[in-house]
């Protein structure tokens, strides 16, 4: 399955990705001690390529590509069984949501900046459109 060696360093284990996931989700993924209780209770693992705890593990190690390419983050239905049972208080549904958001947002830089928009456009823009736009087009 994985013949290549993954190189670990300060850059990935303490890199932007872990911090970004933590920031968006409001969780601390490093709290997870990999007991596997989330995976053992998850009702949707039959459809997942990686177990929920494995996705958390990839995030802990800063392995962004691997974490984002798995279908697990999309299969998660946010039923919160995992969160209810997690002994370390990690809300996995929020972490999965954060990963989906990171996956959706193209690029790694903010595509729109409110301060760049002309005041007249801003004045006309519906609030909802502005919020949606920021959500989709900023990192």
């Amino acid at each position: 399955m994985c013949p290549t060696r993954v190189s670990l360093s300060r850059e990935n284990v303490k890199g932007d990705f872990v911090q970004l996931v933590n920031e968006i989700s409001g969780q601390n993924v490093l709290n997870c001690y990999q007991c596997g209780r989330c995976s053992s209770g998850c009702p949707l693992t039959f459809a997942m390529r990686l177990l929920p705890n494995q996705v958390i593990r990839l995030v802990q190690l800063g392995l962004q590509e691997e974490a984002l390419e798995t279908n697990t983050i999309w299969v998660c239905a946010s039923c919160l069984t995992c969160h209810a049972r997690c002994p370390r208080g990690v809300d996995l549904a929020k972490v999965m949501e954060a990963l989906r958001a990171i996956g959706l947002r193209p690029g790694t830089h903010d595509r729109i900046k409110p301060e760049d928009l002309p005041p007249e456009t801003l004045a006309k823009l519906p609030q909802q459109a502005l919020v949606s736009g920021l959500r989709k087009f900023t990192k």
Binding site: C2, T4, S7, L8, S9, R10, V13, L30, Y33, Q54
Partner: protein, 658 residues
């Protein structure tokens, strides 16, 4: 003929669930000499013991066979009960029909047959049992503690504070042991030397304590209460009475050798004090490397010494001491990293062991507490810790868990992060074993606050790659192979009994286990006593253990010594091997095989005599004696032969009737 009573215990359903008690009772009653057979649900209970006592009195019994669990559990119980109603305790014997029968069989008819034969064989034995009295001997109320690490220090202090004299023998030039090398201690991170040195000082100043450093056990004779020990005080080549600890000698010494205390990370001189807080704080000369001894040159130290304390002519001195009890606190060492070939085999300079890392962390260490790698002195920014380096490896290393590594590595990673803020610590582990007060919380703190990254998997290979140390491992939680180009690797090698433990154990005639650790009598209920009476165990020489455990065990060992010293006599088991003088030919074979020097040849009478207090009843002489004159009390040849006969189902022939 003796009137014998047999008692069968049901042990709830432990025995009665498998064996046919009624048939046992019925059959037992037919054995010659058996006048009474009774059964009871729990014979060891108070009513059970009362039943035995009542029957002894009612039927005027001479001997009793208790058919129950192993004698190592309740033999003392029933012997005491019998003694209370006037029976000699050595007329009580146990037939172990639980561990040796009901627990290991499930077929009731055949198991019952076996139990009947076992009981019959014990009935045969007890018929010929003599009434014995314990052997008593005087007692020297002075203790010897071997090893001056934290366990030895604690044991010595506890004994001395109870009012008894203690002699401490330490092999190294200073007391303190490995604890003196540690930087901080888990889980509180208090400085190791700060909590150790007050104890070292207390020991040194204690009026009841005599410390012999740079000394070893030369010889040991005697027995519990009455040991005679020879202590070799190695020549220090410095008169410690004259020496004022001024330090001029080691300033002027031109020789530089790897310092044992600094684990080779710094140099010491040939005349040296191992560390600044050493006790005694006076130097010794390492004669193997001193130019005066190797080339008859130099002599700087002698020239500069203002008090003429340096004495090249000093000789080893052997002193004799008499002690009543011995605490063995011989300590541990780390498994040699040279054995770990796939981890660099001790050849990659930036792969260090746990104790070396302690020295790097220590503010008084070779780098003043900076985490500089040994090869080029650069600050290590990526450090990989490898757990179970040689532990839990039945094939190439040690099968056991070394117990302390999980916690000290968690501590290492934490302290490292406190010193190198932008550094990263990785720990490869198989399981994290953080059992202990505050330990789990400590380990989690390392993850939460100091960002230690734990990787579940054993490292396969460590090698030099440019100026990095490449670590190949795996993270079994993701199923990925991982590699880390580290600046430095810290191994947590297996802990092993300290060098020389085996020789020491042989000299003391105490037992070690398959891994070389000192053996205790019972792993749960008598964990601080050696199998040989009079020896008590403390610290990591008995099994890997951390400081709180070592200190607790040392206190336990000390309390055993103090309990022994609270009496005026020692009592010894009388199950010794005597001499049948009529048949003894005085050949002396038994004298040579006796491991306890309990047998002597009386050259005038041409007979062997036994020093009863020395005999441990091991039976080596009995096996060696060509004339059958060395007979073990209550286990004579005649008894064994009739027991074998009974076991084989032969009809009993009373030797009395012959």
């Amino acid at each position: 003929m003796k009137r014998i009573g047999v008692f069968i215990c049901h042990c709830g359903s432990n025995i009665a669930g498998t064996l046919d008690i009624d048939r046992i009772i019925e059959t037992t009653k037919t054995f010659p000499g058996v006048v009474q057979a009774e059964d009871y649900k729990y014979l060891c209970s108070d009513p059970g013991q009362n039943l035995v006592q009542k029957m002894i009195e009612a039927h005027k019994l001479d001997a009793v066979v208790i058919s129950a669990c192993t004698p190592s559990l309740h033999e003392p119980t029933f012997r005491k009960a019998a003694e209370m109603v006037g029976m000699n305790p050595y007329q009580v014997e146990i037939a172990n029909i639980r561990e040796q029968c009901s627990w290991v069989h499930d077929d009731t008819p055949t198991a019952t047959d076996k139990a009947i034969k076992m009981i019959r064989s014990i009935v045969e034995k007890v018929r010929l049992n003599e009434s014995l009295e314990p052997i008593t001997a005087p007692l020297t109320k002075k203790a010897l503690v071997i090893g001056g690490g934290i366990s030895g220090i604690q044991a010595a202090l506890d004994i001395a504070n109870s009012g008894y004299e203690v002699i401490v023998v330490e092999r190294e030039p200073s007391i303190g042991g490995h604890m003196a090398q540690l930087s901080e201690t888990f889980p509180t991170l208090d400085c190791s030397q700060c909590i150790l040195t007050p104890k070292m000082v207390e020991l040194n100043l204690h009026p009841k304590v005599t410390i012999h450093t740079y000394s070893e056990i030369e010889s040991l004779g005697g027995y519990i209460g009455n040991f005679k020990v020879g202590i070799r005080k190695r020549a220090k080549s410095v008169d410690h009475v004259r020496c004022t600890s001024c330090g001029l000698c080691y300033e002027k010494c031109p020789v530089k050798r790897p310092s044992e205390f600094e684990r080779g990370l710094a140099k010491r001189k040939a005349i040296y004090v191992p560390f600044p807080q050493a006790i005694p704080n006076k130097p010794v000369i390492d004669r193997e490397n001193c130019l005066k001894f190797t080339k008859d040159a130099c002599g700087n130290c002698e020239k500069v010494c203002p008090t003429t304390a340096v004495d090249f002519t000093q000789q080893d001195e052997i002193i004799e001491e008499e002690v009543g009890a011995i605490v063995v606190a011989s300590g541990y060492d780390l498994y040699a990293t040279a054995e770990l070939r796939e981890y660099g085999g001790g050849k990659v300079p930036d792969v260090v062991d746990g104790l070396q890392f302690e020295r790097l962390l220590s503010a008084s260490g070779p780098t003043q507490g900076e985490i500089l790698r040994p090869s080029d002195g650069k600050v290590a920014k990526e450090v990989v810790f490898v757990q179970c380096a040689g532990s839990r490896d039945t094939e190439r290393g040690k099968p056991y868990c070394s117990k302390i590594c999980c916690m000290y590595t968690a501590k290492h990673a934490m302290l490292y992060k406190h010193k190198v803020h932008d550094g990263q610590a990785y720990i490869f582990y198989i399981d994290v074993r953080a059992g202990g007060k505050g330990y789990e919380e400590f380990y989690q703190r390392g993850v939460d606050e100091d960002g230690t990254v734990y990787l579940r998997g054993k490292v396969s290979r460590i090698f030099q790659d440019g100026d990095k140390v490449m670590v190949w491992g795996s993270d079994t939680l993701t199923g990925k192979k991982v590699e880390i180009a580290a600046d430095m690797v810290v191994l947590a090698p297996a802990t092993v009994p300290s060098v020389g433990t085996e020789d020491l154990a042989r000299e003391l005639k105490i037992q070690v286990d398959i891994d070389g650790f000192l053996s205790e009598v019972h792993p749960k209920l008598r964990p601080v006593e050696s199998i040989t009476t009079g020896f008590y165990l403390a610290g990591a020489g008995q099994a890997p253990k951390d400081i709180p455990e070592a200190v607790a065990q040392a206190g336990g060992a000390a309390s055993k010594v103090v309990a022994l010293f609270s009496g005026d006599l020692v009592h010894r088991d009388p199950m010794i091997v005597g001499v049948v003088e009529d048949t003894c030919s005085g050949c002396g074979v038994c004298v040579g095989v006796c491991p306890y020097s309990a047998r002597e040849l009386d050259t005038e009478k041409k007979k062997v005599k036994v020093v009863e207090v020395l005999c441990e009843g091991c039976g080596a002489c009995g096996a060696a004696c060509p004339t059958g004159s060395a007979q073990q009390k209550n286990l004579t040849d005649a008894q064994i032969i009739s027991m074998v006969g009974a076991s084989l189902g032969e009809s009993s022939e009373s030797p009395d009737s012959k």
